[in-house]
C-alpha cells in the first residue's frame, strides 16, 4: 500500500505541485491550506509523513507542529518542514524546547530536492 503524505501550505499552487509530484511518484498525497485545516484532517487520518509550511494564516506550521508533538497519537508522525525562511536553524533554536523535526527543505522547491527529502525521512 502506498504511503500517505499530508501537504500543508497556504499557497494553493504549492499544494497542487507537491500533491501532483508525490502522486506521480507513488504516494497517496492529500493537502490542507493551514494549520487548522490540517489539524482537523489529522484527527481522522494518520499520514506517514507531513510536509509542513511555516508561515501560514490561522494556525502557523510551528503551532501545528507543537500541537502534534503534544498529542500522543500524532507525536510519532514524521514532519518535513518546507519553507522560504532564510535561516531555518536559527528559527528552530527560537522555538525550542520543541524536538527537532525530521528534516527541512528550503523553497524554491524542485522535484529532486523534495523527493530526496521525502525518501530520506521515510527511510526508503
Amino acid at each position: 500500500m502506498s504511503k500517505k503524505i499530508l501537504v500543508v501550505d497556504d499557497e494553493p499552487d504549492t499544494t497542487a505541485f507537491l500533491t501532483a509530484l508525490l502522486t506521480d511518484n507513488g504516494y497517496a498525497a492529500f493537502s490542507a491550506a493551514d494549520g487548522d485545516e490540517a489539524k482537523k484532517l489529522l484527527d481522522h487520518e494518520k499520514p506517514d509523513l507531513v510536509l509542513l509550511d511555516i508561515v501560514m494564516p490561522n494556525k502557523s506550521g510551528v503551532r501545528l507542529y507543537r500541537e502534534m508533538k503534544e498529542t500522543p497519537e500524532l507525536k510519532a508522525i514524521p514532519v518535513l518542514f518546507v519553507s522560504g525562511l532564510a535561516d531555518f536553524k536559527i528559527f528552530m533554536q527560537k522555538i525550542r524546547p520543541l524536538p527537532d523535526p525530521q528534516d527541512f527543505v528550503e523553497k524554491p522547491l524542485d522535484e529532486k530536492t523534495v523527493l530526496d527529502a521525502v525518501r530520506r525521512v521515510l527511510a526508503e
Binding site: 499557497e11 499552487d13 504549492t14 505541485f17 501532483a20 509530484l21 522560504g84 532564510a86 528550503e106 524554491p108
Partner: protein, 455 residues
C-alpha cells in the same frame, strides 16, 4: 620704587625723576611729560596731572606709553599734588606702574574667551550647560535655534516630557563624574523628531566638585535617515526573498504540471500548469511594483475607490488577529461615504497598519479589560475621513511625537517600528494627513483625512 616716578610743574614739564624712570625714558628734565612718555607735541586730551593741578585731588588713569626706541608699555598712572606752605599745588608727582604683562595676559584671556565663545556658538552641535536639577543654564546658538530659548529643564525642552528620562547621561555624569554617551530621539520646538548622539561631560569647579554638566548633542537625523533607508531596504530584501521563493515554487510547480501533463496527455493538468505559470508570473510582476514603491518612491496608481469598502477590507485583514487577541473589531459605516481617488492597495495597507497598531495598544494594556477597536468612515464634499479608535494603552507626548518615525516602537520586542511609518508615508502621498489624539492610559484615535481628488 618699582615704578616710574616723575615730578611735574604746571606746564607738565618734568622737574624730577627716579632712577627707574631715567633708565627707561632718559633724563627728561625740562621736557614736557607728553613728549617723553608719548612722543607727542601737545598735551594729551585727558591728563591726570593736569586734573590734579585743577582740583588738587589725586587721579589715576591707564595709559599706553613708549620709551625711546623701546616697545610700548602699558602703565597705570597715579598722581598726587605737592603743595606749598599756602596750600597751593605747585607741582604734581606722577607714579606709573608697568602693567604690560598683566595687559598681555588679559588680552590673551580675552582672546581665548572670545575663541571659546565662538566655538560654543558655532560648533555644529547642540550644547547646553545644566545644573543638578537638569536646568539649562546656558545653551548655544544652534540649540536655541532648534529648541527655542525658553528656560527650563532638559527633558522639558528637549523631549517635551514632564519628568526626567529613565536613562539620562547628564544625571549619570553628575553621579560618577565621568563622561557618558547615549543616543536619543528628541523633539524640536516645532515637534519634529531629531536624532541626536549625546555626550555629557563634567564641568568641575575650583574645588573639583561637579556643579554643572555640559551636554553636547550631535544631530544625526540625516545619518539615521540614510541608515533607516538602508535597514528598511534590508528588511525589504528579506521579505521579498521569502515571497519570491514561494512564487518560484509556484512557477516551477506550473512547469512540472505542464510537462507531466503533456507526457500523460492529461488536459486538466496541462491547463492547471498554464494557470499556475500565469498567476505566478503576474504576482512576480506586482511584487516588483511593491519593491519599487519602497525603493524608488513609486507613483500612486490611483483609481476611483469605494471608501467604505476599503475600510471594510482592511478590517477583514485584521479580523483573525483581533479574534486571537480577543479584542472586538467593529467597522462602522453610518452613512454612505462615496468614492475617492486613491491607490487602493497602498491605502488598504496604511489602514491595516493603523488597525494593527490599535490592536497592539489593546494587547499591551494590562490595566483595564473590555478593550475594543472601532473603525469608522465618513466624508464631506472635499474629504474622506477614516477614524480608528481604541481604548488601549494610549500614548504620552513623546510617543505621539515619535509615532511616525521609522523603527520607533513602544511595543517592546514585538514592534518593528515600520507600520505607522509606512502608513504615514502612504497617506502623505495621497496628500492627506493622519492626526493622533491620544491620552496615556485611556486610548488613541487616529484620524486619516484624504482629499477625494488627488490633484
Amino acid at each position: 620704587m618699582p615704578c616710574y616716578v616723575s615730578v611735574q610743574d604746571k606746564d607738565l614739564r618734568i622737574i624730577e625723576t627716579n632712577r627707574r624712570f631715567r633708565e627707561e625714558f632718559g633724563q627728561g628734565i625740562g621736557e614736557p611729560c607728553f613728549k617723553v612718555y608719548k612722543h607727542r607735541e601737545e598735551k594729551c586730551p585727558v591728563c591726570p596731572v593736569a586734573k590734579t593741578f585743577e582740583d588738587g585731588q589725586s587721579h589715576n588713569s591707564e595709559e599706553l606709553v613708549q620709551a625711546p626706541g623701546g616697545k610700548p608699555v602699558w602703565v597705570i598712572v597715579y598722581t598726587c599734588p605737592i603743595r606749598d606752605s599756602q596750600g597751593q599745588v605747585t607741582s604734581v608727582i606722577e607714579m606709573s606702574t608697568d602693567i604690560t604683562q598683566v595687559k598681555t595676559l588679559q588680552k590673551k584671556l580675552d582672546d581665548s574667551q572670545r575663541l571659546y565663545r565662538l566655538l560654543f556658538e558655532e560648533v555644529p552641535c547642540y550644547i547646553s550647560v545644566q545644573d543638578r536639577d537638569l536646568n539649562i543654564i546656558h545653551a548655544n546658538r544652534r540649540f536655541q535655534e532648534d529648541f527655542g530659548d525658553k528656560k527650563g529643564r532638559c527633558y522639558e525642552i528637549y523631549k517635551h516630557r514632564s519628568e526626567p528620562c529613565l536613562v539620562c547621561p547628564v544625571a549619570a555624569t553628575f553621579e560618577d563624574g565621568q563622561a557618558h554617551q547615549s543616543e536619543e530621539v528628541v523633539a524640536s520646538r516645532s515637534g519634529e523628531p531629531v536624532n541626536v548622539l549625546v555626550h555629557a561631560a563634567p564641568i568641575p569647579n575650583d574645588q573639583g566638585e561637579i556643579a554643572q554638566v555640559m551636554e553636547m548633542s550631535a544631530n544625526i537625523t540625516e545619518i539615521r535617515r540614510l541608515q533607516e533607508q538602508l535597514t528598511s531596504l534590508g528588511l525589504l530584501v528579506g521579505s521579498i526573498s521569502h515571497g519570491i521563493k514561494g512564487l518560484l515554487t509556484g512557477l516551477h510547480g506550473g512547469i512540472y504540471m505542464l510537462k507531466s501533463g503533456a507526457q500523460n496527455q492529461d488536459e486538466a493538468r496541462i491547463s492547471r500548469g498554464w494557470e499556475m505559470i500565469e498567476v505566478n508570473e503576474a504576482r512576480i510582476r506586482s511584487m516588483i511594483h511593491d519593491i519599487l514603491y519602497y525603493a524608488k518612491e513609486r507613483d500612486l496608481e490611483t483609481q476611483s475607490v469605494d471608501a467604505a469598502g476599503l475600510l471594510k477590507q482592511a478590517c477583514e485583514r485584521l479580523e483573525v488577529r483581533a479574534r486571537n487577541l480577543n479584542v472586538p473589531l467593529d467597522c462602522l459605516i453610518d452613512a454612505p461615504v462615496g468614492e475617492l481617488e486613491a491607490d487602493a492597495d497602498a491605502l488598504h495597507s496604511a489602514l491595516a497598519n493603523l488597525l494593527d497598531n490599535s490592536l497592539d495598544a489593546c494587547r499591551v494594556d494590562k490595566k483595564k479589560a473590555g478593550h475594543r477597536v472601532t473603525a469608522r468612515a465618513r466624508g464631506d464634499n472635499e474629504h474622506v475621513f477614516f477614524e480608528i479608535m481604541d481604548n488601549g494603552i494610549g500614548m504620552d507626548q513623546e510617543t505621539r511625537e515619535k509615532a511616525f518615525s521609522l523603527f520607533f516602537s513602544s511595543k517592546g520586542t514585538e514592534g518593528t517600528g515600520l507600520g505607522l511609518f509606512i502608513a504615514n508615508k502612504i497617506v502623505a502621498k495621497h496628500k492627506g494627513a493622519i492626526a493622533i489624539d491620544s491620552t496615556f492610559g485611556q486610548g488613541t484615535q487616529f484620524t486619516v483625512r484624504i482629499p477625494r481628488k488627488k490633484g
